[in-house]
Amino acid sequence: MEADRTGGGAVVTVPGLLLFAGFALVGPAAAFLVPSTLIQSLLTQATIYAIFALGVGILIRQNGMVSFGHAAFFGLPAYVIGAVLPLGLMPPELIIIGGLAATALMAFLVGLVIVRVHGIAFGMLTLAIGQAVYEAATRLRGLTGGHDGLSLDLPRFLFGLPLKTFQQPGSMLIVTWLVLALMLAVAFLFAKSRYGLLSEAIRDNEERVRFLGYRTLVPRALTFALSALVTAAGGVLFALYNAFVSPETVHWTASGSALIMAILGGASAPWGPVAGAFTYFFLKEAVGSFTTHWLSIIGVSLIVVTVVFPAGLVGLFDRLRPGNRSQGAANVG
């Protein structure tokens, strides 16, 4: 399967498409089968965070880099929408797409500077950028509403759908799930593309890539931008669902949660962070109902995962699978 990547063979196979279609149907099915609005709401939130974590995971898998500041990219489009909507300059749909594009562009430009730095220093830079966005969100009161946050004055129809589609848990579960499926497809196709292969090669051994004739800075910045874009898609859904954004959305603890989800699930396959996000929400819900210390439970499970299953749920799955493939699996350390 991986052998097809630049060989010109099929990346998209029939079983793959069936699997994808089956996955895409899970959300809508859950929306109809789960009667409880509470659980629907929980699933919707988990799906939004799964998209957030998917973006974080793309950066780990393709670039080998860990971001502690991705909440900035999650919250930024929400703030852009909130700040530009009242001006009435353009259709809201355009503002949403513009917010996504602006976030990706900003990530690309920032990426051109910060991806030169490696390892923990890169993590610190992303943390600093995340905190800068947080500070801006609290200080620029006129634009962001400061600590009080910003209510989004959304129009009654968006993309031809009534606004309540985006704000009722049942219907929003379907919307978020379909976006998640789309983003997973993007992550998968990127990983299988020649560009994805190049980014993995750079992750493994950047110097040798240069000696093969490739420039490496732009590809790494582009991967960073793609990762930010996926996370931003989650941020837009968050903004529509809550019609509200506050500095908490861009706080480093939000970045940390998404990172925990990605690591819990394992970043060596695109679906890992998604599974991690649902596990995280499930744990939080199950444990949170009888103790307020659920964060420490998450912490302990994270330690267990990193010690026992360093490749997260993906690694566990690979190990349990009959005829497990240890070859070809990218080792993200």
């Binding site: 991986e2 493994d204 240069r210 093969l212």
Partner: protein
């Protein structure tokens, strides 16, 4: 019209205050296999680095078939036809062997790597992640990556490093034939003097960052300075 394959003037490299390479000149004719020898720390790898544009604090005038590439990045040099391998194996551990060769081939405008897999005896491990194949296979992969697209000038830094006596003999012979068949000019760092005398057209001897001697194998074998500085201790 008879441009040299490789012309290097004043190759210099410093580490802080220490001068590892002090203005080395080197000229290699098209099709030649040139061996670069010298004691440990003589500056052989450093010279390969300077020629290929690797690292900081390097300076040299480098011409590739008459074209000045002194200011070119490593990537540009590769596209211009200069390629290199590494003394310390430099491959992509997480990627299957074929994938990384295809990636290299794509940049050189080629779509097929089966011939290369065959040449370097890698067909059996083509779909295995390079981090999981044997050390000998990894060394040959490093070379295969350098040979993608049939570079005009190939810089090899101890291609047989860490291989057994048998393996390194065989590899040297193979490289010699491949270079002739593909008309690749080779600059080769090699410690094994049997190999050097067997496959080199000419030999350059480095010592303490300078050229100690240069000549054909017979001349080098007979050179008293070389015997004193290097062959005496190595033989």
């Amino acid at each position: 019209m008879s441009a040299n394959a490789l012309e290097v003037r004043g190759a210099t490299k410093t580490y802080g205050g220490f001068t590892a390479l002090a203005g080395v000149d080197l000229t290699v004719a098209p099709g030649e296999v040139r061996a670069l020898i010298g004691p440990n720390g003589a500056g052989k790898s450093t010279l390969i680095d300077v020629i290929s544009g690797r690292g900081a604090n390097i300076s040299a005038e480098v011409r590739l078939f008459g074209t000045d590439i002194s200011r070119a990045s490593p990537a540009q040099r590769r596209l211009a036809g200069m390629s290199r391998s590494f003394q310390r194996t430099s491959i992509f551990p997480g990627l299957p062997v074929r994938q990384q060769l295809l990636l290299a081939a794509h940049r050189m405008g080629e779509g097929d790597v089966d011939e290369l897999l065959g040449e370097f005896n890698l067909a059996a491990v083509a779909d295995i992640a390079a981090g999981l194949i044997s050390y000998g296979d990894q060394r040959r992969l490093d070379l295969a990556l350098a040979l993608v697209g049939r570079p005009r000038v190939l810089l090899l830094d101890e291609p047989a490093a860490g291989l057994s006596f048998e393996e390194s003999k065989h590899l040297a012979e193979h490289l010699r034939h491949l270079a002739a068949r593909w008309s690749v000019t080779v600059l080769l760092v090699e410690h094994d003097m049997d190999v050097v005398f067997a496959i080199a057209d000419r030999i350059t001897v480095l010592q303490l960052g300078r050229v100690l001697a240069e000549g054909d194998p017979a001349e080098i074998r007979a050179n008293p300075d070389v015997i004193k500085a290097y062959l005496g201790s190595a033989a």
